[in-house]
Amino acid sequence: MSTQESGKQGLWATLRKPSAKYSLLGLLVIGFFGGIIFWGGFNTSMEATNTMRFCIGCHEMKDNVYEEYKYTIHYSNRTGVRASCSDCHVPKDWTNKIIRKIQASQEVWGKLTGVIDTKEKFEAHRLVMAEREWARMKATNSIECRNCHDFDAMSPELQKKTPYKKHMEAKKEGKTCIECHQGIAHKLPKGFKKPGTEEEEE
């Protein structure tokens, strides 16, 4: 048996051996508080990546989508309720949030390789990125929108007649928010036409 193998066995054997020095209560208390610190730290770090400050830490976001978003109703409105980046782009529930965060790690690679590091590159990729995000939102039945908006909570008295009519039609047809509200907080990609509004030839 090599020295390395015997070393591995030694470590495993030590881990498996009951403690002769520390009490079970002591180990449980250490494990309990250690777990709290680890879990708290993990979630705090996760929440830190959900802040607007984090999102616009990259100039790609700050100079493009953030600039546009600042002039939309989700940033500034009559009642002062703001939907920040993560409110629309990251699901609230833990499992979907983790899935989204893992997917988003691909964006770090994009940052490192400079895929959208100039305005021109961003515009060239805008349609691809937008369509990817719209597809994700459609697949989740616009889960982030529905944290605040609900067809059933729309008042026919308070909502304008035309939007109310269109919302009720959408509900009946089983449509989801993003199918009509693309570009609600950002500029639409150049040349993009919303489905259902195709026009006759000019």
Partner: protein, 118 residues
């Protein structure tokens, strides 16, 4: 001599059209702004929907002075409009990025007014 120079300058301006430069219509930008504001949900290009088509609007204003300003006012004042079913509703206020960009709004108005019957 002074008068001659002035006359030549005026003539040159008239010939080149420099005296009244009209901003070129940017059709793609106008269409983009219309999409961004969901105009086409209620207006067709040549087909009336809940609201009149762009062609109907163009026909209404054709040949009238200050038509573009009127259309911009209509898009931005949120005034009451009559829908196809006879009911009334506040017209949506068109938004631009950056806000209230007169050039973008005038370009959209010019595009609407440029629509011709096929």
């Amino acid at each position: 001599m002074k008068h001659l120079t002035l006359a030549a300058a005026v003539a040159a301006i008239s010939i080149t059209g420099f005296a009244a430069p009209a901003l070129a219509l940017d059709v793609e930008a106008a269409k983009g702004l219309a999409e961004q504001n969901n105009c086409m949900q209620c207006h067709g290009l040549r087909k009336d929907k809940d609201g009149p088509s762009f062609l109907t609007i163009a026909d209404k204003y054709r040949g009238k002075a200050g038509a573009a300003d009127e259309v911009v006012k209509h898009m931005t004042s949120g005034k009451k409009v009559k829908l196809a079913d006879g009911s009334q509703e506040d017209h949506k206020v068109a938004k631009t990025i950056p806000p209230n960009d007169a050039a973008q709004l005038k370009n959209l108005a010019a595009y609407i007014l440029s629509i011709q019957a096929k």
